[in-house]
């Protein structure tokens, strides 16, 4: 599904990604951990084609990501759902409109939008907040809207960049349950995180990056540096 083949993207020696090989299968749930500046964001940005690698190949599904023309990037991004630490909801749109927007971008017929958006909102558990603007919602609720937006078009891959970073532990676990559910429906989930507790409790594949290199890749308990507040 996702293949990083000797991918290098260095800003300067030791910063960025250095000769990374990773293979992620369809339907996997993967944690991407490592200290700040280790290369996690570079990994995500390369995956989103926000950056182009210096060398190496990135393949996602049928897409040769590093060879995509600018015109093709929007098309490619529609196959990938993205969730961010700061939610990145459109502030002047309601929860419903934020989710609907992701479908409008794809020129989905409005009948389908009216049918599907409420379904997704109820799946993430915020049907009753559909008409609220982001600033009227709690952090966990905003993140649920963001997740609804990310999955409404049935992406093959969901990238979650520290989705629980701004949330208290109880809310964070709610979000993890939701991501787990989405993964069970067959979506590949890649979650970047600092949250040691979550990573080690979930019992999933853990890829640890440090100084641009993969230093750990297994389901084993990972005790190395993860960055974040715990350190």
């Amino acid at each position: 599904m996702i293949t990083f083949d000797h991918v290098t993207k260095l800003y300067r020696p030791g910063v960025g990604l250095d000769d990374v090989c990773v293979k992620i299968d369809k339907g996997e749930f993967v944690f991407l951990v490592g200290p700040s500046g280790a290369g996690k964001s570079t990994f995500v940005k390369l995956l989103l084609k926000d950056l182009t690698p210096d060398s190496g190949n990135i393949q996602v599904g049928d897409y040769h990501v590093n060879k995509l023309s600018n015109r093709m990037v929007p098309k490619y991004r529609r196959k990938i759902g993205t969730v961010f630490q700061d939610f990145k909801l459109l502030p002047k749109k309601t929860a419903y409109e934020n989710v609907a927007f992701a479908m409008e971008v794809l020129h989905k017929p409005s009948r389908q939008i009216r049918k599907q958006v409420p379904q997704i909102l109820s799946l993430v558990g915020i049907s009753d907040k559909a008409d609220k603007y982001p600033h009227e919602l709690a952090g966990g609720e905003q993140q649920r809207v963001a997740i609804a937006r990310a999955i409404v078009n049935n992406p093959q891959v969901l990238i979650a960049d520290e989705p629980t970073g701004n949330l208290d532990p109880a809310t964070a676990w709610g979000i993890m349950d939701l991501l787990d559910q989405i993964n069970l429906r067959g979506t590949t989930v890649i979650m970047v995180t600092h949250a040691k507790e979550i990573v080690n409790k979930m019992d999933r594949r853990i890829i640890a990056i440090d100084k641009g290199r993969v230093i750990h890749d297994s389901k084993e308990y990972y005790a190395g540096p993860m960055g974040g507040d715990e350190e």
């Binding site: 989103l48 600018n70 015109r71 990037v73 929007p74 098309k75 490619y76 991004r77 529609r78 993205t82 990145k88 909801l89 459109l90 502030p91 002047k92 927007f101 992701a102 409008e104 971008v105 794809l106 020129h107 409005s110 937006r149």
Partner: protein, 297 residues
């Protein structure tokens, strides 16, 4: 396609309302520019009209005939002048005609002329020329006839007037060009601010997989709608001002320079067209230009 057009227009109105602070700022800066442009435009158009009318009024040479000239002499003179190059029309004006014209010019005071016992005005020949440049040669040819007492034409006056109006026109053009540049800078900066305030929004659209035209669409329509609103207000305001102006000083202007002001209707129609075109294009262009930096892939 039609669906997405409606989508864009609907979105534009929703977003303008939700970002009303910034929208108002944009509307005001476009409005200010249009108002100043409109005033300059009013000046320029009226000066144009004035100079045209003056030129029309004075594209003729009048030669006065001595008292006692015979009809045959007069006819000969007329025939000769008719053959001159550049002469478009020659008419004879008898003493009685001259008096009637003067009466008309004097208007309500015309009755004063009735008390004249004898008609003191000379008969004359009006020679219309296609351009004032031909007036001098016609004048000198006419002066050679015995029966001609005096030749009158206004080349120097008109030349001076033309020079002044020409200068005014150029000055106004320069001011206008300057204004357009300044206002485009101001407006595009204002729009840049609105776009910057929403750069997050653009980033998000890109992450959701919106292509560049999908992102630009609503911003562009917003720019156009903002331009439309500004130009509607500007047209209304300028036309009211102009109407008031014509009503209060139009007659006086006519009395002084014997040229009417351009009609309110003509001004309204033309200014509205100019305002709408300018407002919309600045709005749309401003949005597209200020978005460019956020849409680089």
């Amino acid at each position: 396609m039609i669906g997405s057009l409606f989508y864009n227009i609907k979105q534009a109105f929703v977003q303008i309302f939700r970002n009303r602070g910034m929208s108002a700022a944009s509307i005001f800066s476009i409005l200010a520019m249009l108002l100043i442009l409109g005033l300059v435009f009013i000046i320029i158009v009226n000066v144009n009209l004035f100079s045209e009318i003056v030129k029309q009024d004075y594209d003729q040479v009048e030669v006065f005939i001595k008292d006692g000239a015979t009809q045959a002499e007069i006819d000969e003179c007329i025939e000769t002048l008719k053959a001159k190059p550049g002469v478009t029309n020659v008419t004879f004006r008898s003493q009685e005609d001259a008096l009637a014209i003067m009466k008309e010019r004097w208007g309500e005071s015309g009755y004063l002329l009735d008390s004249l016992g004898e008609n003191p005005l000379p008969a004359s020949i009006m020679i219309e020329v296609d351009s004032l440049d031909n007036a001098s040669s016609v004048a000198s040819a006419a002066g050679k006839f015995e029966i001609i007492e005096d030749v009158q034409y206004y080349k120097e006056t008109v030349d001076k007037l033309t020079k002044i109006t020409h200068f005014l026109q150029i000055a106004c053009m320069i001011i206008m060009a300057f204004l357009v540049v300044v206002s485009v800078v101001v407006v595009s900066n204002t729009i840049k601010l609105t776009v910057m305030a929403r750069s997050d929004e653009i980033h998000i659209m890109r992450y959701v997989g919106a292509n560049n035209w999908f992102i630009r669409g609503p911003f562009m329509v917003e720019g156009i709608v903002i331009g439309l609103i500004a130009s509607a207000i500007a047209s209304g305001a300028i036309c009211l001002i102009y109407k008031k102006l014509v009503e209060t000083i139009g007659d006086q202007v006519f009395a002084i320079v014997s040229s009417p002001l351009i009609s309110v209707q003509y001004m309204t129609v033309n200014l509205t067209i100019i305002f709408v075109a300018l407002g919309c294009s600045i709005g749309a262009w401003g949005s597209i230009v200020s978005m460019r930096k956020y849409l680089k892939a």
